[in-house]
């Protein structure tokens, strides 16, 4: 079963085997508003945990997306180029950003599980 973890920057990473799929949370898409452009990293790019590697543009502002773990990008969501609104409509489904072959799954231990993330969002008021 897939295990989903969350960052304080409101990214989620769903891990299956040694590949993590990354996107932004429902809370993040609500805060951003209408998404009009997503710049995703190309397959083959190596990213370090915490590195800014994608950009999501809403009508209001541009926001960086940070790699929740170290690894190599194996696929990015090309469909977002045509339908960036998927990020608003299905942030944890069709609105995924990219997939990462994880270098060290142990890095995920520091991330929040769903209950911890929900509590974190509540604490933001």
């Amino acid at each position: 079963m897939a295990d989903t973890r969350y960052t304080e920057e409101h990214e989620w990473i769903r891990v299956e085997g040694d590949v993590g799929t990354i996107g932004i949370t429902q809370y993040a898409q609500e805060q951003l508003g209408d998404v009009v452009f997503v710049d995703v990293p190309a397959a083959g790019r190596k990213v370090a945990k915490g590195e800014a590697c994608a950009v999501v543009e809403s009508v209001k502002a541009a926001s960086d997306i940070y790699a929740p773990a170290t690894g190599e990008v194996v696929e990015s969501n090309a469909a977002l180029a045509e339908t960036p609104g998927d990020v608003n409509a299905e942030p944890t489904g069709k609105g995924w950003f990219f997939k990462l072959k994880l270098a060290d799954k142990g890095e995920l231990d520091g991330l929040m599980d769903e209950a911890a993330y929900d509590a974190f969002v509540k604490s933001l008021g």
Binding site: G33, D34, V55, E57, V59, A61, P84, N88
Partner: protein, 373 residues
């Protein structure tokens, strides 16, 4: 958008209504203002372009100037602005700017003559400074009366006329940039056929205590939806209109900002406003830079602060940039060296360190739809 000074946030007469409507409220120019309602900016933007949007712009500064005995308020105001104010007929409105001694823009404003007095509308972030400026320079000749508690509603879009004329039939035939006193719901209001979306519409100055009831009445019409500051910004950018503090400020002159159309023809010759010498010199010789429209290729958005580059050399800077919902693509405006400012010039906009190819284009991006009768 303008950042907020420290201190408690002020509220407009529509604060409770915004809360009821589920607005996301943000600090803006010292006020708690709706940036968007639950449907979001894209829907609000498109609704304003196709039907009718209601904007709360009560945070803007309304000031009444009334000539003292034997004085002329329009002539007095002309000592502070380059616009032709003395030439305003009763009921006519004009766009102009307060300039400083270097010809820089202190604020931009709308001035309407009622025949008896002048009604001035200035930007929220500048209104205290503008009031002090007018009091300092105009108190000898005019009564300078701030009306900062009044409401100001903008009703904008192709259905605005149909909606407002149900309440006030006379507004249907009002022309763009004219104004009149009207009665709405028993309240004496001043309506102008104007706005800042590039579309048809009205701005309605309302007594503070009746603003909420009038707004609710307008929203009861099926064509009308509430619209926040987010869509107000994307609408004005499509219309190629300047946002003070971003596209114009004290470092830009009306000539550089390509606002010369708003400078009276006689006033270009005769001067008599702060910074006239600089403005006249720029009219004669051209300014070193000018404001242009920019159409980026692709979908990346070049926002305020992005450098404009030609062949690796920086030739200017983006002052406003965003997504145009009407065009479904990114648009921007900025300043470039005049020698590089011709329409069709290819440039690169630096977005997160990467060049985004773009072309200098004429503005507006979306054709104005003003009602000229």
């Amino acid at each position: 958008m303008t950042e907020t000074p420290a201190g408690p946030l002020k509220r407009t007469p529509l604060y409770d209504l915004h809360r009821e409507l589920g607005a996301r409220l943000v600090p803006f120019a010292g006020y708690e203002m709706p940036v968007q309602y639950p449907t979001g900016i894209l829907v609000e933007h498109n609704h304003t372009r196709t039907a009718c949007g209601l904007f709360d712009v009560s945070h803007m500064g309304q000031v009444r100037l009334t000539a003292k005995p034997g004085q002329n308020a329009a002539k007095a105001l002309e000592t502070l602005v380059p616009g032709d104010i003395a030439g305003l007929q009763p009921g006519q409105q004009r766009y102009t700017q307060f300039t400083n001694d270097a010809g820089g823009i202190l604020d931009d404003l709308m001035v309407t003559s009622t025949g008896d007095h002048l009604l001035v509308v200035v930007n929220a972030a500048c209104k205290d400074a503008d009031l002090a400026h007018m009091r300092k320079h105009l108190s000898a000749t005019c009564e300078v009366e701030p009306m900062f508690s009044r409401g100001l509603l903008a009703l904008q879009g192709p259905q605005a006329s149909a909606v407002l004329s149900r309440l006030v039939p006379q507004v249907a035939t009002m022309k763009f940039m004219t104004g009149a006193y009207v009665v709405i719901d028993g309240a004496r209001c001043y309506v102008t056929r104007s706005g800042y979306t590039g579309g048809d519409g009205y701005e309605i100055s309302t007594p503070a205590e009746q603003t909420d009831a009038i707004a609710r009445k307008l929203l009861s019409h099926p064509e009308v939806k509430p619209i926040g500051l987010g869509a107000r910004d994307s609408l004005r950018l499509e219309a190629g209109l300047c946002l003070y503090g971003h596209d114009i400020d004290t470092t830009t002159t009306p000539v550089e900002a390509v606002l010369l159309w708003s400078v009276g023809k006689e006033r270009r010759v005769q001067g008599g406003f702060p910074g006239a010498a600089t403005v006249q010199k720029q009219i004669a010789e051209g300014s070193s830079r000018k404001r242009v429209g920019l159409l980026p290729e692709g979908k990346a958005i070049a926002r305020e602060g992005a450098e404009i580059v030609i062949g690796g050399k920086t030739v200017g800077i983006v002052t406003s940039g965003g997504f145009s919902p009407t065009m479904g693509r990114a648009i921007a405006m900025g300043y470039v060296e005049r020698s590089q400012s011709a329409n069709g010039t290819k440039v690169d906009l630096m977005v997160r360190g990467k060049p985004v190819p773009a072309e200098i284009v004429a503005m507006p991006f979306v054709k104005h739809a003003y009602y000229r009768g």
